[in-house]
Structures are given as structure tokens and as C-alpha cells.
Amino acid sequence: MSAPSQDNAVKGSIITRAIIYVVLILFVIYYLLPLYVMLVNSVKPLEEIRSGNMMEFPKVWTLEPWRAAWSYAQIGVEPSGLRPYFINSILMVVPAVLLSTILGALNGYVLTKWQFKGHGIVFGLLLLSCFIPFQIVLIPMARVLGFLGISGTIPGLVLVHLIYGIGFTTLFFRNYYAAFPTELVRAAQIDGAGFFQIFWRILLPSSAPIAVVTIIWQFTNVWNDFLFGASFSDFDSVPMTVALNNLVSSSTGVKEYNVHFAGAILAALPTLIVYIVSGRYFVRGLMAGAVKG
């Protein structure tokens, strides 16, 4: 998105430009509104939400909903708050992201710089695997995880996210390394460097941008996943998204909207922070995922 602005601009009167700005600002409101509602109502007492107006600032400010959401709200059968599940998600995300990124980098390196007969088919199959509806693997995966003795565990979830992340990480690195000059690899070969030395000494030092893109992409995807979490987790391995859904859609008791909003923000916080800190790379990942080849 760093492309220089160019002169596509419509030259119009001040009124046209004013209208453009008004429309743009209306959409700013549209996109920010749900976030605003969540924030404002997460610091209101429940009573005020039910009797008051969702759009208004709290009359009484309170951080109690946040405390509840984090440490003692009823999730499923446990009044544990979201904290243990937040930790579950971290424990799941970190190894899944790192492993799939490392494998993706190696795969991309092989598929561009050490092409062998059939490399196109291998890449095609890896790429296509990004797009399967995951419903198709739920049944056999449940059985295989059971067979491996890791069903309902965090290592089980790591394995699942690792496997179904390889396609995208390989795609990212493959496209990046495809633009990496092959002559550098050849020069290194003449210098006597082997497969891993070339990767380690020549390609990897230049891979920081794509590594960041890949890590952000994988982090966002794995953190935000719900389907695998809902299918393959057990009481002590439930990830954040599933816990949030349990919190929000539990049918017992009073609906504590303020706690729900605080919980939703907590679940969104890690990816939002990543987005705010490195939005450029986030967008690049989205683009790379959309425009293939």
C-alpha cells in the first residue's frame, strides 16, 4: 500500500470534494461504531445498558466487567473468566505459527531454487490445500488425533493448525523467493556453499519482510480460528474464541452484556495490536493471499 499516490483524482468543485469527505467520514463511523459500542458498554454497569442507551457514555464508569471477563465470569461450568483460555490460545498459537513459518520458508526455498521434476504439482497440491472447506477434514481428523493420543490437547491443536497453515506459508515464501535472484544461489554454489548454508547465509538474512508477513498472517488466522477450536479442544485446551462464544451464548442466568463486550475486546486485542503495530505487513499478507501465481 505504499504505492505513490498518482493523479487519478477527479477534479471537481469544492462541493464535490466536501461530499466526498462527508461520505468517507460516514463510513469511518460505520466501521468504528461496533468497536465504540463494545468499548463504551464494557465500562458501564449492566443496569445502565438495560435501561439506558447503548450509544451514550456511561454515567457510572466501572472496570468490573473487565475484571469479570478476565478472571471470574462463568464459562461453561467453570467461573474462571477468560484468562486460562487466553493462555491456551497463546500456548497454541506460538508453536503453530513458528513451526508452520519455518516449514513454509524451507518449502518455498526448495520450490524455487531447487526445482525438481514435478515441483509444479507439489506446489499446486500445497496451494489448493489452503482453500478446502475444513468441514471436510473434521471427521477423519478427530479420529487421527484420537489415534495419536492427542485429541483434546493443545499439541493436537498445534498439529492441526500447523498442517492447515503449511499451504499459505509455503505460498508466501515461494512467491517471495521466486523473485529472489537465482544467480545468488548459483554464485554461492560456486563458492562451495551447500543446501542449508545457502538458505541460512544467503536467503534467510533477506527474508525478514516475508517472515513478518507470514507470522502475522498465521498468528491472525490461528488466533481467530473457531472451527478447529470448537471441534478438537477439551475442557483444559479450549482456545479464546471458543471460550468467548461459550461466554456470550450461555443460556443460563442473566445476559451480562458488559462482560461480553469486555470479553470480546480481550479476544480481539492481540490481533488488533498486531494490526495497529504492523498494519502494512498485515495488508501485504492479505494481498498475497488473494493474488496468487
Binding site: 535472484p181 544467480e183 545468488l184 548459483r186 554461492a188 560456486i190 562451495g192 556453499a193 544467503i202 538474512p205
Partner: protein, 371 residues
């Protein structure tokens, strides 16, 4: 230092054959230039010498030793790439010494070698910079430095000057030639630029479509082309190739170039090439270089066979040191190279001198030379 021998080399990519039996031999200290249009197989040939691509059959020898099947790093070669291929994350010094580092040569020895090469190429002050901080010419020097430090049997150059601007290209060309004269190492050099080939080489190999078209000294390739492709490819502006009919004229062979049916009439020129007798009455391609087609005052007076003919001048292109005139012979454009101050104008009919001792003839069917 060593000689290089390529024997009946073939290379296939699947069903496509890109090198179709190449035989080249170059002496120790020679400068071999592989030249041809893009896709002719010259870069593939260089890569097979380097060991970056495997060969399908045949053999490559450096000195007496066959190197086919050896890893690139074990062939005792060094290569300079078109893009220079400098490792972007390393300094100039690290770039130059990377190969030694891989081989486990210790630091003091590495530094001595770096210093020696840096002095030779005058890049001492660049040693701690990254490639991104260098100009094109500086990168070129560093790439050469990385090759020199290996002190190999054979240097391989893959179009090393094609990324430089015109002026720098000429300077670096001279520098490479000087380096070769000083070190005397065998060089194999790939280019698509025939001027580079003529100026640098001791031997030129002209390739097209995977076949070796001609292998010889620059003078042989330029003056004595084996076929129409080589004649056309080498030299700039390229050789005029004109269709002509072989006739008997006063008991001697001559060629007749058809006029355009309007202003210009037929032109008949004597031709002494013995092989033309076999083509009596048939068509041949008459090849004459622009410098052998000139104004009468500028013609080589020692030439035995200089014939003047009036030609209609269509376009005049002054080029500083020379003036080029475009005329029409046998229905195609022909370029004459005149003296810079030749008094000539477009639309004028002027006498041109044909130096027939420099003329060559080709069989239009096989495109082979008639001798």
C-alpha cells in the same frame, strides 16, 4: 591456468534439445567468447561448464581432467554473473571471502587475499560497504574481485556488462581485456553483443538454436563467415545480403543484381569465387559489408577488384566518423559506409565502389558459404 575442451556436448530439457553436439577447444590462456541471439544456448553452455546445469551427453575437460559430474565448487572455476549476484546482506569484503570462509580458510589468510584483490581492482575503500551502497560499475568490480580471489583455472563471465550504461560498458570492456592480458587466465565469456565478442575474444564461438555455427578467431568470423547467419549476426551495421544471379561474362563468372524496374537498371559484377561455377544460371546470396561498399574516393585503393556502379541514394545518415548511405540493391535496402565528409544527398544518384575482393557468396537454400 588450463585449456578447456568441450566434446560433443548435448543438453536436453525433457524432450527439447538446447545444445546439439557442441565441440570447442581453447588453449590455455585463451579468451573464448560465446555469442549468439537470445535463446541460442550460450548461457546454458556456460552453465554446463560451471556445473550449474548437468549435461546430457558429451564431456567437458579443464586441462586434462574431465569435470562433468563435479560440483561447481570443485571445478576450479570462478564466475561473474550478469546481475553480479553479490550477496546483499554481506559487505564487499565478506562477499569476496565467502567462498574461502566456506572452505574453512583462516581469517588472516582471507584478509590477505581480500587486500590483494582490492588493490588490484582499486576497491579498497569499498570493502566495508554493502552492495546496495555501490554504483553499477563498483558492483561489477566487486563481482570480478570475488572471482579473482579464487585464482581459478578458468573464469566464466555471463554477460557481465549488459547491465551497465554505454560509456561504462566500454570502459569495463577495456578493463577486462587488460586484466586478461595481465593474468593470462583462460576466460569463457558469454555475450549477445557482437562488438564485445570481436573486441575481447581470441576465439569466438557463434551459436544459434543450439548449434555451433562457426568457431574461429574474430578475423575469421568477421571476414570469412561460414554461413548467412554468422555473416548477418557479426558486424554493425550488418552485412548486406542481396539476391543475385550467377552469369557467364567474357568466360568468367559474374553476378547480376536485378534492378527495380524503374530508375535503376541491372548491375553486373565480376566474381572470382570458384564455387560459383556450380551455381551458373542459378540464384545466390551476395554478401558485402558496408565498408566494402563506399564512395570511390574512400575505397581501399589496394583492392584488386573495385567496381564502380551508380546507385540511387535513398537515405543519408551522418554518424560522425562515417556517413552511412542507404541504397536499394536487388529489391532490398543496402547500406554503404562512406567517408564522413563524402558529398552525398538523398535522392541523388551517386557512384559507389564495390570492393569485390571482400565479397562473399552463400547458397540461398542451405545458407552455407560458397567458396
Amino acid at each position: 591456468m588450463a585449456s578447456l575442451t568441450i566434446e560433443n556436448l548435448r543438453k536436453n530439457y525433457g524432450a527439447t534439445e538446447v545444445l546439439k553436439g557442441i565441440d570447442i577447444e581453447i588453449d590455455d590462456g585463451g579468451f573464448l567468447v560465446l555469442v549468439g541471439p537470445s535463446g541460442c544456448g550460450k548461457s546454458t553452455l556456460l552453465n554446463t561448464i560451471a556445473g550449474l546445469e548437468e549435461i546430457t551427453s558429451g564431456d567437458i575437460k579443464i586441462g586434462p581432467k574431465s569435470v562433468s559430474g563435479l560440483h561447481p565448487s570443485k571445478r576450479d572455476i570462478a564466475m561473474v554473473f550478469q546481475s553480479y549476484a553479490l550477496y546483499p546482506n554481506m559487505t564487499v569484503a565478506q562477499n569476496i571471502s565467502f567462498g574461502m570462509e566456506i572452505r574453512g580458510i583462516d581469517k588472516s589468510e582471507r584478509e590477505a587475499a581480500i587486500q590483494k584483490v582490492a588493490d588490484m581492482l582499486q576497491i579498497g575503500e569499498l570493502l566495508h560497504r554493502k552492495p546496495s551502497q555501490l554504483s553499477g560499475g563498483q558492483r561489477q568490480r566487486v563481482a570480478m574481485g570475488r572471482a579473482l580471489v579464487r585464482d581459478p583455472q578458468v573464469f566464466l563471465f555471463d554477460e557481465p556488462l549488459s547491465n551497465l550504461d554505454a560509456k561504462l560498458r566500454v570502459d569495463m570492456r577495456t578493463e577486462i581485456k587488460r586484466l586478461h592480458q595481465r593474468m593470462g587466465t583462460t576466460i569463457v565469456y558469454v555475450t549477445h553483443d557482437q562488438i564485445e565478442a570481436l573486441t575481447l575474444a581470441t576465439k569466438i564461438a557463434v551459436l544459434k538454436d543450439g548449434y555451433l555455427q562457426q568457431f574461429g578467431t574474430p578475423a575469421e568470423v568477421y571476414n570469412d563467415p561460414e554461413n548467412m547467419f554468422v555473416a548477418d549476426f557479426m558486424g554493425s551495421p550488418s552485412m548486406n545480403l542481396i539476391e543475385a544471379t550467377v552469369r557467364e561474362e567474357n568466360g568468367k563468372a559474374a553476378i547480376q543484381i536485378a534492378g527495380d524496374g524503374a530508375g535503376a537498371g541491372d548491375i553486373t559484377l565480376p566474381a572470382n569465387t570458384p564455387g560459383l561455377r556450380d551455381h551458373m544460371g542459378g540464384k545466390v546470396m551476395f554478401g558485402i559489408r558496408p565498408e566494402a561498399l563506399t564512395d570511390p574516393e574512400g575505397a581501399d585503393r589496394t583492392g584488386a577488384d573495385i567496381i564502380q556502379q551508380d546507385c540511387l541514394i535513398e537515405v543519408v545518415e551522418p554518424a560522425g566518423s562515417d556517413t552511412f548511405a542507404v541504397t536499394r540493391l536487388g529489391g532490398v535496402e543496402a547500406i554503404a559506409r562512406l567517408r564522413a565528409d563524402a558529398d552525398i544527398h538523398a535522392g541523388q544518384t551517386a557512384p559507389l565502389a564495390f570492393n569485390m575482393t571482400k565479397a562473399v557468396f552463400f547458397d540461398p537454400k542451405t545458407t552455407a558459404r560458397i567458396r
